[in-house]
Symmetry: C2
Subunit: 338 residues, 2 copies
């Protein structure tokens, strides 16, 4: 059986380039007992891939999750025709061991989503959904009436965090990088939005958007913007550090520097916690998050948008575009162009 | 009744100068019902005074705590001859309302310390003691066998934190600014010490001192040193931010900048929390901390050192010297020179 995959040729330095990847064909081996053959239907491109690729030793297949269909099977748990979601890398077809642990970076049967699109298992009802659900609710501990700020608010995770905060009765302020994204956030129920790329005075704009100060900050970006938001946190504010995308694509030696953070953390008695969603990957916890998100979406309390790129061969473009903020909501690649 | 006090003439910019203070005489009013007259015996100089003086409107009496003796009283709770500890400012004698709430920045009868010196109520058995006790144990949640790093380790709070960590069965690494302080920390049981002013390679020295990485970091200093220690934290490390003395005395416009902190916080999943000890100032909690510290000291588990300056008129010198690291252990001023 023929398959295609993308090999990462070298570590990124600065912005990833299409030439950092190579599309390769491979001949898959015959299935062994306990294995199944998976064909990618939707593939995910996510910010974490940029820093995590540092742990790879190129040349090697690029990391990533996908929703796929079982084409052949010698494994009872994954019958032919069933769907799976798993960290199978940037591959069009994969031979998979059926006993791979069902973790964030493992493989599991596609959860039952009650009629929602399968691709949501890569977004709102999958890793990014649980990132928003647990990372926000557990670490920020938002209370009704509090003010929540979200950066990267129009991204896969940020757009969910803001809507979860609205479900919890908070005032929500979102930072995004285009006016169109800000307009979209308003349709999701965000109380105020700030285009951080064009806003002439972010401090003043945030003061207007959050007149009672900021109680919770869900941080997807880090760096200068986070420094400025910290200044407007209230006493005993909570910061959930989910991402630091502002510095992922810095060239070595050109890193941004910021004010010493400890002074603000100290006098405002802030609690700042970084997290990787895998800390909640025990099966029962994981499915609880997935099902809560699915229920809110079916109930119309949370809206989902996807930016879909068609064609497996466009994985690098979709990835680079996502890092540059071209997506609104979750960026996915549909393997077969229509 | 005559009294003396120090007036803060202006806000500090950079290092405090003796000329920022003025020694003044005042004539105290007659006691009203419910008041008492307190004569200072020991006065405290602490790092917090530097940033907190920002909240004052000079010219005004400088803030600070003291242990005093009741000279006259029209208040049952504070009889003549009894001792008090309270935030009475830099004053040799004060007229005090007996119903001032017994909080960190209020007034309370001197706790019964079982034979320990009264001045300990300003240090190991008072505000700095509870800062170490609660700020370390509650926020760092140290476990037996973990590695704890303390900066400002030879100061009033740091020297206690390191010893509490030893009581809890941790490996303890202390940073201090002179070889003599490092030698003293060894006598307190610190497993390793680093003179951050003379060490040619702090990263390498810390790696040697903490070969299994750092689980808990009690941060008194902030800034560059904290940035470097963060790099060697273990997954799920805890940082208690108690002080940021490295930046208290920076001149406006000359502030140190550091690397974006979010990346390390994120990928190591660190929890960083700032605190002011007043969050534990409920009377029962407060006395529990004081009595636990006193018990450990009487049992010989925690050793206490004071750097005593004699003479009320030397308050500014003692304060400036403490900020410059001239003290070992708690810096106090004995009001009456002998």
């Amino acid at each position: 059986m023929k398959a295609e995959k993308f090999t990462l040729l070298r570590h990124f330095d600065g912005w990833p380039q299409p030439s950092d990847f190579q599309l390769e064909s491979e001949e898959l081996a015959e299935l062994q007992e306990g294995e199944f053959l998976c064909e990618a239907e939707y593939l995910s491109v996510d910010p974490y891939m940029r820093p995590y690729s540092r742990n790879l030793q190129p040349p090697t297949t690029m990391i990533g999750s996908q929703v796929g269909r079982v084409l052949e099977s010698r494994c009872e748990r994954f019958p032919v025709g069933s769907r799976v979601v798993g960290a199978l890398g940037w591959r069009s077809r994969s031979v998979v061991k059926g006993d791979t642990p069902p973790a964030v970076f493992g493989v599991r049967p596609l959860p039952e989503l009650g009629g929602l699109p399968d691709s949501y298992a890569l977004g709102s009802c999958g890793m990014p959904g649980n990132t928003a659900y647990y990372g926000f609710l557990e670490l920020c501990q938002p209370k009704e009436g509090e003010t929540v700020v979200v950066t990267g608010a129009a991204g896969a995770v940020g757009s969910l965090v803001g809507q979860i905060a609205k479900v919890k009765g908070c005032r929500v302020v979102g930072f995004a990088g285009t006016d169109a994204k800000c307009d979209w956030l308003k349709t999701l129920g965000f109380d105020a939005t700030i285009n951080y790329k064009t806003c002439p005075d972010i401090d003043a704009a945030l003061k207007t958007a959050a007149p009672d100060g900021v109680d919770c900050y869900f941080d997807n970006v880090g760096g200068m913007l986070s420094q400025r938001i910290r200044q407007q946190m209230n006493l005993f504010g909570r910061i959930s550090v989910c991402g630091c995308i502002s510095s992922y694509n810095e060239k070595t030696g050109e890193e941004v520097k910021v004010e010493v953070p400890e002074k603000t953390i100290l006098f405002k008695q802030l609690r700042v916690e970084g997290f990787i969603v895998s800390r909640w990957d025990k099966e029962d916890l994981w499915q609880k998050g997935v099902q809560q998100m699915a229920a809110w979406i079916r109930d119309g309390k949370i809206k989902v948008q996807e930016t879909v790129t068609e064609g497996f061969e466009k994985m690098p473009q979709a990835f680079i575009g996502m890092l540059q903020g071209e997506n609104t909501g979750k960026a996915v690649v549909k393997a077969a162009a229509e």
